[in-house]
Structures are given as structure tokens and as C-alpha cells.
């Protein structure tokens, strides 16, 4: 196969991805670029090369190209009475960083409008010195930036019982990855003098849910951050502007947004969000509680559900892997439904509790195929099959589904959810 053939086939593949973006976004977009050049095989100098471009076409805060307008977050359809979130278009992302406008959302009382000059953080309870901090105070502390994934523990939940969704965005779009900047919580806690009997802390948001979770002090003193920036700019409103807690590797709702208060105590508070929600119901009707870590997981995003392979030949299978328990050590890919597995290439840098991009070269022979990825993390945990998840946790469970996602490729190239 010549290099040109490979390119044109890859281009077709990308085109099919764009088409998925169109269907997901719900809008219909006709690409207006002239295709005449390709018709007879002879290149011509394009019109945009023979004139000056327009001035600054973008507003001072730039936007993506108009040809990318369908790469957007997905809202539930039909819209529910209480809008609670949106999903990241994983199939359209490159590398590991989620652009700020595409980071998934999950709200419990909508997005509050908070003036950062008026925002305050209180730390009290089992401390020697209860303290209040303004945003001016917080940004003066020693800071650090870390790349971490954030995943809702309800991500991929519908797939536990049946294949109810079609695209990777619909099924797995409650995961994103950003560079987060802020202050180590341990640094600010020492301003207050943590008392020795403080074993848990309540983190509380300033939103209309005054969202609360109890968090073990061991996590807060380990790698917890008070975050005010993401991907180089201040937090987006929907990510907790001006201040959120960030607990690397833990289920997303614990990284309390619009953080206004941390109270140290001896026992968990048993809040609504850690009893009636975000617990894992077992087969016997008991519920596992305080299951914080998001376990080892991966998903193929190229190709994925609702895409279409237009011809036989070379494709790069690619996707994300992550673990709340450490680094990704290995990702394997199967193109025959799990009969055999081969190592994928992991894109450096492979970081602790970050998304990792994996890649695997594949020549499609035109026969039906089932594509799967399986991740292993630094603690040795292996991503399970869906059957294994249901067997281990029961079909009653909802949160923390980290099962392998199969994608079925039909002989006509159509990719569907193979669950």
C-alpha cells in the first residue's frame, strides 16, 4: 500500500469521525470546502492561498474553527426537568487534555454565579485556629499544577445491565482530563493547626445544593488540591469557579465545586450524597459505602460507536486509559473479541491518575471484528469484563462501572456498541 493510499484512507476515517460529531451534536453541517481539486488528481492553488486572510476573525477570546462547531458537549435528550450534566466528546479529542469548553459537567443545583472578590473559604471544626480565606489569600500560597483525570462515578453506568447507548460520548463521556493548578490542601490546613483527633472532613459547596461529602483526612493530607485554575486559565464556572476541591483518582462528585467550607471532625457525616447516592448496592441488598477510587479503565475512542470504516486497510486504533489507583502500566488491544490480545503503545508521559493515550496499528481485512481494550495499572489491577463486574458487584450496582467496552465492526464498516 502506498503512502498516499494510507493517507486517503485515514482521511476517510477522520471524515467518518466528523460525521459522528454531526449526529451527536444534532445539527447538520455541510462542509463547504471545494472538493474539485481531488476530482482529477491534479492539485490547484486554492483560493485562500491567493488572497490575504481576514483580520482577527475571532473575538479576543478565541474560538475553534467554524468547521469544528459540532465538537461539543452532549446534553441529555429529551431534556429532563432538572438538567444535571453534559458529556465530553471523547471521540473527537486528541492527546490527553480535555479543552475547558468540553470538560463534562455534573451539577446538583445548577451553576452558581460567584464573584471571586466575594468568595470565601472557611476551615474550622477540629483545628486550633479556625480561619477564613479570600481568593486573594489562596492564590498567594505556594502553588502547583498537576495533570489529573476527573470521572463521575456514574460514568458508563447504563451499560451494566444492557447496551442502552451508542456513541462513546453517550456511554463514557463523564470523564475528562485537565492540568489543574492550585494549592496543596495540606499547606492551607497547617495554617489552621489540624488536631490529632480529626479523622474526617466535610467539604461543602456554595451552590444551591450546598453539596457535601465526608472525606478521610489521610486523602486531604496526601495529594488533595485546592484548585483555582484548569488548563492555564481560571476555572470555568461549571467547574467550580472560583475554587474547587480536587481529589485525584476519587469519584468526581467528591471534588466539591464552589468550595466554601471545610469542617474537620472525627466521623463521617453520612450526608445524602454518601448514603442515598454514590453507594454501591450489592446482590444481598446491602450497599458498599465510601468506595472512593475510580478503578482501572480504558476505552477505544477511534473507531467507536456510530462511526463507519469506509474501506479495508490501515487504521490506528486509539483511546484512553486511566486509574484512580496510580499509573497505567499496560494497555492491550484485541481485534477478535478477546480471543487474543496485543500490547498497545502508551503515549508518554504516562502520569499518575491521568488519562493516558494508547495507540495500536490495525489493518482491517473487511471481515466483521470486535475491538476491545484492557488496561492494567501500577497496582496490578486488570480491567474486568462486564460479566466479571456484574458477577463481582451484582446487577444491582450502578456506580463505578470500569468494564471493558467492546465495539463491533460489521462487514460494511459500521461500528456499534458490542455490549
Amino acid at each position: 500500500m502506498s503512502k498516499k493510499d494510507v493517507f486517503s484512507k485515514r482521511r476517510d476515517f477522520l471524515k467518518s469521525s466528523v460525521a459522528v460529531g454531526v449526529s451527536v451534536g444534532g445539527a447538520v453541517s455541510a462542509h463547504s470546502s471545494p472538493l474539485k481539486n481531488q476530482d482529477n488528481g491534479f492539485l490547484e492553488v486554492d483560493p485562500w492561498t491567493k488572497t490575504q486572510g481576514s483580520g482577527f476573525v475571532n473575538p479576543p477570546y478565541g474560538l475553534p474553527s467554524k468547521y469544528e462547531k459540532n465538537v461539543v458537549r452532549l446534553l441529555p435528550s429529551p431534556a429532563p426537568t432538572f438538567l444535571t450534566g453534559s458529556r465530553t466528546p471523547l471521540q473527537s479529542l486528541h492527546g490527553i487534555i480535555t479543552p475547558n469548553g468540553l470538560v463534562f459537567e455534573r451539577h446538583h443545583a445548577g451553576v452558581p454565579d460567584i464573584n471571586p472578590d466575594l468568595h470565601k473559604l472557611v476551615i474550622h471544626g477540629l483545628v486550633d485556629r479556625p480561619m477564613v480565606f479570600t481568593m486573594d489569600d489562596i492564590v498567594r500560597f505556594p502553588s502547583e499544577s498537576r495533570i489529573y483525570f476527573l470521572e463521575c462515578s456514574g460514568n458508563s453506568a447504563a451499560e451494566l445491565k444492557k447496551a442502552s447507548n451508542q456513541t462513546v460520548q453517550q456511554i463514557h463521556g463523564l470523564v475528562s482530563c485537565c492540568e489543574w493548578t492550585g494549592v496543596r490542601l495540606s499547606t492551607i490546613l497547617q495554617e489552621c493547626g489540624v488536631q490529632s483527633n480529626a479523622k474526617w472532613a466535610l467539604a461543602e459547596g456554595a451552590d444551591g445544593a450546598a453539596m457535601t461529602r465526608s472525606i478521610p483526612m489521610s486523602k486531604l493530607m496526601d495529594d488533595a488540591l485546592l484548585v483555582y485554575a484548569q488548563n492555564g486559565e481560571m476555572l470555568r464556572a461549571e467547574q467550580g469557579y472560583p475554587l474547587r476541591l480536587f481529589l485525584p483518582g476519587y469519584e468526581g462528585n467528591m471534588s466539591i465545586k464552589w468550595l466554601r467550607r471545610i469542617k474537620l471532625g472525627a466521623e463521617p457525616w453520612q450526608t445524602r450524597e454518601e448514603t442515598s447516592a454514590y453507594t454501591d448496592l450489592r446482590a444481598d441488598g446491602k450497599a458498599s459505602q465510601f468506595t472512593f477510587s475510580m478503578e482501572v479503565k480504558s476505552v477505544i475512542t477511534q473507531p467507536s460507536g456510530m462511526m463507519k470504516l469506509k474501506s479495508k486497510g490501515f487504521y490506528e486504533i486509539s483511546g484512553f486509559a486511566w486509574s484512580g489507583n496510580g499509573k497505567i502500566r499496560r494497555v492491550e488491544v484485541s481485534t477478535n473479541g478477546g480471543k487474543s490480545w496485543n500490547d498497545a503503545v502508551l503515549q508518554e508521559p504516562v502520569m499518575d491518575k491521568s488519562l493516558v493515550r494508547f495507540r495500536f496499528p490495525w489493518v482491517w481485512d473487511g471481515a466483521p471484528a470486535t475491538l476491545m481494550s484492557r488496561a492494567v495499572d501500577s497496582s496490578g489491577e486488570v480491567q474486568p469484563t462486564m460479566d466479571a463486574v456484574i458477577k463481582a458487584k451484582s446487577a444491582n450496582t450502578f456506580y463505578h462501572n470500569n468494564a471493558i467496552q467492546p465495539w463491533r465492526v460489521a462487514a460494511n464498516g459500521e461500528v456499534t456498541n458490542g455490549r
Binding site: D222, T275, G285
Partner: protein, 178 residues
């Protein structure tokens, strides 16, 4: 578990290493003096959390009758006139949990009565959170417990009686911490 404890121990050592200043030059050795002291009295308006033992419950009380009136005015349009659910969650009934068709409600699933008070006070009613008086929150709590047949119609709910209410699923949770 032993391995995990060791891991936490190692992390603590690492954190202490940072705190004593052996890593980056500007990591603080101790308090750097940013922020202001605040008294517990000054925090009062935000200090609304209730613990499972009832710690934090305010003065005031509520009856089932007062709760029913309040519920019909402020809660029924979303949760149904008898707590059967609507645009928002069902609050009453639910039955067995050891089935994949389980329905989790306050009655069938919530382990602590104090959580009902805490959640109503901080987050309800939906369009006007933190607008109810403490008496109203006690009353709404009483009515939801009554609808679930957990308390009788004449029981008064206050800081003393609420923590004593035994929820049907009180023993339904296994702490895992992982």
C-alpha cells in the same frame, strides 16, 4: 489492607518531608500568616451540617400536621402529593433492595434520620434552598417519616427525638473506604 496502610504511611512520611522544607525552597515550614482567624460564632450562618448522632441539630420542632401543610405547598409539585415521586425523586415506599428493580427512597434506603433534616435544610425546596425556618425543616422531616410509616401522626420531631428514630435500612451499609 496491610499494603494500603503501608502506602498511607509512606505518603505521610513524604508529606512530612515536604513540610520540614527539604523539597522546594518556598514550601512553608509552618503557618505563613495568610487568611484571617474566624470564630465559630461568625461561621454560624454556614455551619449547617448535621452529624449522624444529631450533632448540630438546632432548637425548634415540627409536627406531622405542620409538615403536611408545608409539604403540599412547597414539595408536592415535584415529589408527588403523597411522596410517590414526580419530576423529582420518590420519597416513600420502595420495598426490597436485593433486586435489580429496587426503588431507593427515604423509607427504603436512607440509613440516618438526621440526613433528612440536613438535606432539606441545605438544598430544599428546589427553587429556594435554605429558605425554610428550622421549625419548617423539622416539620417536613416529620411528615416524610410519617408518610413512610416510620413515626406516628402525633410524634413531634426535634433535636432530641430525631436522632432516636430508627430507619428501616439503618444497618444496610458496609463501609469500605477504598
Amino acid at each position: 489492607m496491610v499494603a494500603k496502610r503501608y502506602f498511607i504511611f509512606v505518603n505521610c512520611v513524604a508529606v512530612i518531608g515536604v513540610l520540614v522544607g527539604c523539597v522546594s525552597g518556598y514550601q512553608a515550614h509552618g503557618p505563613v500568616g495568610l487568611g484571617k482567624p474566624i470564630s465559630e460564632d461568625q461561621v454560624r450562618a454556614w455551619n449547617i451540617d448535621i452529624g449522624p448522632t444529631g450533632a448540630g441539630l438546632p432548637t425548634g420542632s415540627g409536627t406531622v400536621a405542620a409538615g403536611e401543610k408545608l409539604y403540599q405547598q412547597q414539595c408536592a409539585s415535584c415529589h408527588g402529593d403523597k411522596g410517590q415521586g414526580g419530576p423529582a425523586n420518590r420519597l416513600v415506599g420502595g420495598g426490597a433492595l436485593n433486586t435489580d428493580k429496587q426503588v431507593k427512597t427515604v423509607g427504603s434506603f436512607w440509613p440516618y434520620p438526621t440526613t433528612i433534616f440536613d438535606y432539606i435544610r441545605r438544598a430544599m425546596p428546589h427553587q429556594a434552598p435554605q429558605s425554610l425556618t428550622n421549625d419548617q425543616v423539622y416539620a417536613a422531616t416529620a411528615y416524610i417519616l410519617y408518610l413512610n410509616k416510620i413515626i406516628s401522626a402525633d410524634q413531634v420531631i426535634d433535636a432530641k427525638t430525631l436522632p432516636l428514630v430508627k430507619m428501616p435500612n439503618r444497618d444496610g451499609f458496609i463501609p469500605v473506604e477504598k
